[in-house]
Amino acid sequence: MRKVLLGMIAILLLTFMTACGNQEATKPVIEKSDENTQAEASEQESSNAEEKENTKEVAHIRLGWANSGFPSPFTFSPNGPGGYLRTTFIFDTLTWKDDQGMKPWLSEKWQISEDDRTYTFTLRNNVKWHDGEDLHADDVKFTFEYFKQHPFGWHGDISMIEAVEVVNESTVKFVLNKPYAPFLQEVVGIIPIIPEHIWSKVEDPYQYQEKEALIGTGPYTLTSYEAEKGNYLFTANSEYFKGKPIVNEISYINVKDRALSLQNGEIDAAMSLNYQQMLQLKEKGFDVIQSKPTGSAVRFVFNLQDDQLKQKELRQAIAYALDRKTIAEKVLGGNEMVGSAGIIPPDSDWYNKDVKQYEYNVEKANKMLDDLGYTKNEDGMRKDLVLNLLVSSNAKNAQLAQAMLKNVGIELNIQQVDTATFTSLMGENNYDIALTGHIGLSGDPDFLRIWFMGQASNAYAARGKVFENERFIQLAEEQVMTLNEEKRHDLVNEMQDILAEELPTLLLYHRPFYWLYNDEQFAGWFNTDGGISDGIPLWENKSAFLNEE
């Protein structure tokens, strides 16, 4: 007994000792970056001519994201964009985007046929897989055929591709069954090209987690994945066809709160959604980039099958009754941008500046509701107007909206559920209004079609319950086949007009993201024009880590 006790005390003491010596434990990583800044300093002294900070070599950058599984194109988790993002470090696509918009990547150039249905890509000829093999046109053809059999678990609908033909070793031709305007950016710009010599032997790619599953052409290779902890370590590919990346190692650490971990020095850069938090960290010396265009929004989805909510005037009255500026301010802490009734954010190239907007106007809301025949009782409530609001994680918005709608006599019951329940209730059309956040509005406007045409099996869409507006459907189908930008702008503008008038959904506000970093360490971050993977505002663009002309 006594021995056990002594042992326990010894363990306790040992633990205390380790607690005090905690700096040592985290040293390996920190030391590296220290060495690195010293190296940088001496490098700068020796070559003052190198003004451009992007060309500085950086030994290690630590970033934060949740675990998203083994990062092969078939096994990453689609729960948040982190999974896809990390595969883009290892795999490349035919096109890619940077701060200037779309650019050639694995392909050098392309031609589009007269009828907009055939794309002929010329591949770069110096591209090698991580195992030393050369990239061929065959790999491209194989990739798209393989993904037809084994669907990709992310964006990148490839159903419009009729055939992929190999013209010669470095030329590949895509034939589409109809013109598809976002093809270059959102199809061949998203689908990762995989090596035929590996995957042709793999029967079930969703269970294939060997080392070979991570052979790509990308600027990084995965050095370590701590599966149960969700940490990833990437190392620069020195043979990369665009030159060795300037950031030698990138680690992703599964931290709980990125902003807090940034402050604590556990990671080097992080995203924040809160304006106040951003200001606080800015004061502490971090540099900030604000996402532009604002690719994220919080919105009400109205159930158009509901007997009451199918009245357009009721939806409009709700829009007038909500002080959306205050909701945004209370939730985001400032720098608010009231939701555009036409959905596309005001700072996007696709925004229609003449689109109808709904200002905060209680009087107007009350009058519209009176006109609809919802009379107020002596308590000031309209007893026939009791609506349910389905919420998953944006509860604070719901409470603010509840109070505002009470003001015009609408009783709003908040029903809070978890993600899976939320989706299944929407799928069963078992809701009045749903409150949801959405990321991915900063890119191609085709998402307006996907949201409302009931083709996407997704909570944001009307879930098979098509927004039955003939003109809208016609426009939506036409714009996706229109490659002429000017013409497409006109079509998308009209779509926004219809959405603003009909309000199948009401955007509460657009939500800017802030990227916080230390520019002494690495200053190459930028806003990706058009967003990564269909309009998602992310800063971890592999292009930022490359030293391109």
Partner: protein, 333 residues
């Protein structure tokens, strides 16, 4: 008698296996609903992708066929593929299990030892009527939910003071070096990361053992043989830790066995608060994402552990208490 016990265990086990299959499926929404994302998601799935997912995981099969596959899987030791992690459930559970066993194992041992010692001392002092403040303090400690205590410790020691890391079980990608120095550095790192969650678990678990031990000891202290021993002038330490402990420990033993049984599940909240990669955190993720195979695998592990510990307690108890062995008393009084 023994056969009867084992038979009743078997019946419970079979019932639980059946429940295991249906409970996850009673939750609203399925794994694909989770992947489709309710809120703040950025992934738009097409109907083809959805259909493919459903058929890949066999979720489009009629329920009885899914059930048959589940039973067949259990019999062959194959729990299937986790939908969230796309990894074999067995591999996932084993890799997370070591962290939970480490965390909860040490926390249990400390809390049991401290609970017993404090309980005995407290009972002795109660006889002298001066353990009230201590007793109250322990009662209060026992009433604190573990996640609140965990949160307080996290905010105080990690956020404010920066003594301990926020999350994880080791420094990411740490290289500890070779030989004995490397091993010590590794141990230090692991203890440093586990200190706060271990403290939390220890503190919340101490009071139930303490309370039971205190009461049992107090009862034993009233026995005439203790009075005799005292009068004989036996040293206090010997009196308490030999003569009293042996008899007072019996009810505590059952509690300890139960505690070990619940060891795996007990850490769910603590692992979640500290983002500790044990199976408690895994279960939380499995439930949120409706990962049926992973949930089934975890529930089964929990079931086996809890039932197993109970069975051991049932079998060892008679050996500890000669009265039961001789048939003067039964376990289930």
């Amino acid at each position: 008698m023994k056969n009867k016990t084992i038979k009743s265990y078997l019946i419970v086990f079979i019932l639980i296996i059946i429940l295991n299959f249906f409970l996850p499926r009673i939750l609203p929404g399925g794994p694909v609903a989770f992947i489709q994302g309710g809120d703040d998601q950025s992934f738009i799935m097409t109907e083809e992708q959805k259909a493919h997912l459903l058929s890949y995981y066999g979720l489009d099969l009629p329920l009885h066929e899914q059930f048959y596959q589940y039973i067949f899987g259990i019999l062959t030791g194959d729990f299937g593929l986790s939908i969230l992690y796309k990894t074999a459930v067995t591999t996932l559970i084993l890799s997370h299990m070591k962290w939970t066993l480490f965390l909860v194992g040490i926390a249990s041992i400390i809390s049991i030892l401290l609970g017993i010692i404090l309980g005995i001392l407290s009972a002795w002092n109660k006889r002298k009527k001066n353990d009230a403040p201590f007793f109250l303090a322990m009662l209060m400690l026992g009433a604190i939910p573990e996640f609140i205590l965990g949160m307080v410790l996290l905010i105080l020691f990690s956020t404010k003071l920066g003594w301990f890391p926020f999350s994880g079980s080791t420094t990411p990608f740490a290289q500890y070096g070779e030989g004995i120095i490397g091993i010590i550095a590794g141990m230090k790192d692991i203890l440093h990361h586990s200190f706060l969650p271990m403290m939390t678990l220890t503190v919340v678990n101490i009071s139930s053992i303490y309370l039971l031990m205190r009461n049992a000891t107090f009862d034993v202290l009233k026995e005439p043989y203790i009075y005799t021993a005292e009068v004989k002038g036996l040293p206090l330490k010997r009196l308490l830790f030999r003569h009293t402990f042996k008899n007072a420990f019996l009810p505590v033993f059952t509690l300890i066995m139960l505690r070990f049984g619940f060891m795996l599940t007990g850490a769910i909240f603590v692992e979640t608060v500290f983002s500790y990669p044990g199976i408690g955190k895994l279960l939380q993720e499995a439930i949120l994402s409706r990962d049926y195979p992973l949930m089934q695998g975890l529930f089964l592990i929990f079931t086996i552990t809890i039932l197993g510990m109970n069975l051991i307690a049932d079998m060892v108890y008679p050996k500890l208490d000669p009265r039961i062995r001789r048939g003067e008393r039964t376990v289930f009084e």
